[in-house]
């Protein structure tokens, strides 16, 4: 039996999506994919949760299933291990394609045309905010920012014992290490201006 999710509604597809990805740095080679599945067979995430599937994401993108791809948590779950990138016989560069798709998802989010709930997105955001503040990463600040942004107060409590253990081992600096702070702030500002254009 066909279920609703198996049906593609033609006028809901965005055939420009593939071009949009191909124009984004890193997405150039998307159309070279011949669906061999080497990426999915190599992916350590697919091995654990086969709802994440690089080949499928590429197919969906090529078919123009734009909003589903852009709002999916799965585009945020790739852990950047570059195994698919290394092995793809067509040099599609899936890891870079995922970056390109994430960049588009964020652009659409800023235009209020997309929603992103994936924790990995919140994490990346918190990470870079910390870097913007100090020029370098400050791990305790990042962890706290992340849990607060996720409104995950239980998470903070669950994380506390490990935090204390790390602190005792001298692995949690009380104050942030700084480097290139002013220069990094200017880098962020210039890029934000460019991306708003």
């Amino acid at each position: 039996m066909t279920t609703k999710t198996d049906i593609l509604v033609l006028n809901e597809l965005d055939f420009n999506f593939r071009e949009e990805i191909a124009c984004q740095p890193g997405g150039e080679n998307i159309k070279r994919c011949f669906a061999c599945g080497t990426c999915s067979a190599s992916c350590p995430i697919t091995e654990i949760d086969d709802r994440f599937n690089p080949r499928k994401i590429i197919r969906m993108a090529l078919l123009g299933i734009k909003s589903e791809v852009l709002s999916s948590d799965f585009i945020w779950i790739c852990c950047n291990c570059y195994l698919c990138y290394e092995r793809c016989p067509q040099d599609v560069r899936f890891t870079s394609i995922i970056h390109a798709i994430r960049n588009i998802a964020i652009r659409e989010l800023k235009k209020k045309k997309n929603v992103i709930r994936a924790p990995n997105f919140l994490f990346a955001h918190s990470f870079l905010e910390t870097v913007k503040d100090y020029g370098r990463l400050w791990e305790p600040g990042l962890s706290l920012k992340f849990f607060l942004r996720k409104k995950d107060f239980k998470g903070i409590l669950a994380y506390a014992p490990l935090g204390i253990k790390l602190y005792r081992k001298g692995k949690v600096p009380i104050s942030p290490s700084r480097g290139g702070t002013a220069a990094v702030k200017r880098i962020f500002k210039k890029i934000e201006e460019r991306e708003e254009r």
Partner: protein, 289 residues
């Protein structure tokens, strides 16, 4: 020989023991690591997700600073290494992009700086013979699982010093120091370190195959060459033990820490008391033997 050194954020905080041991080992092998000035975070894996330009600009600034003083810069962290070699690869030959990045970082972007992983330099520049020459206390047949992790050898399109599917550098070091590197099919399988905080469940599954795999293949310890791998394997270790009801008994050392023991350095000098999974039993058995 003085070489530029980019420690990256972790080596100044959670992975201080890697920093300590990296300096000692390099010193023994005649390489003086000099930290580059006023470096900034490279954006690790995260910058590329949010903004392509940011993922270029952050590492590009470090490369430009380093190039003022050095021809070569060493990175002990695989994620930092990836971020920097990716910029070199992308800017090389793309004058327009290079100009844009130069404008953003307010200095000339450079692509010809030699960027290398610490492991690469120790094995291929200092060399195995020199490593052997520094041996003071043999590893005495210690069975070691050499875990490389993902982006130290991948993608070979960016940077290539060892076989991306079955690298040998760590194994060569361990063998040279009198240890045994066990056959280990998970050598380059990703630990999921980047997902540690946002997606712990998934990371537990990913570290599980490495930790339990090492035990199944008869290892007595694991060596790593990346602070993210170390953090993921150590912090999830108790969770893997309780979820899979195993007793791992498998300390995880930076390869430089194990080299340090063989070179005769003391526990404190190598920061071995900072490891979450205590390697002390292993250290004592090496000292007894």
């Amino acid at each position: 020989m003085k070489i530029g050194y980019y420690p990256g954020c972790s080596l100044h905080s959670s992975a201080k023991e890697y920093d300590l041991s990296a300096h000692l080992i390099s010193g023994s092998l005649g390489i003086e690591l000099q930290e580059i000035k006023d470096w900034n975070c490279c954006g690790a894996f995260e910058a590329a997700s949010l903004s392509h330009l940011l993922a270029l600009a952050l590492p590009a600034r470090n490369l430009s600073i380093a190039a003022k003083e050095f021809q070569k810069v060493i990175m002990p962290c695989s994620a930092c290494l990836l971020a920097h070699v990716r910029v070199k690869k992308e800017l090389n030959g793309n004058e327009k992009l290079k100009r844009e990045v130069s404008e953003i970082i307010e200095q000339q972007a450079v692509v010809d700086l030699d960027v290398r992983h610490l492991l690469d330099v120790l094995v291929n520049e200092a060399g195995i013979e020199k490593i052997k020459g520094n041996l003071k206390r043999s590893l005495n047949g210690l069975r070691v699982a050499c875990y490389y992790g993902c982006v130290v050898v991948r993608p070979s399109q960016f940077y290539h010093f060892d076989n991306p599917d079955c690298p040998q550098s760590l194994d060569e070091i361990i063998t040279a120091l009198g240890g045994q590197s066990v056959p280990f099919p998970y050598k380059t399988k990703c630990c999921g370190g980047a997902l540690l905080l946002p997606n712990e469940e998934l990371t537990i599954e990913m570290t599980k195959s490495i930790l339990i795999g090492a035990k199944d293949w008869g290892a007595q310890c694991i060596v790593v060459a990346c602070p993210m791998c170390h953090m993921a394997l150590e912090t999830l270790y108790p969770k893997v033990e309780s979820k899979y009801k195993v007793n791992l008994d498998m300390p995880i050392l930076y390869f430089t820490q194990l080299m340090g023991l063989a070179f005769g350095y003391r526990v404190k000098e190598l920061g071995l008391e900072r490891n979450l999974i205590s390697p002390m039993e292993l250290v004592h058995s090496l000292q007894r033997s």
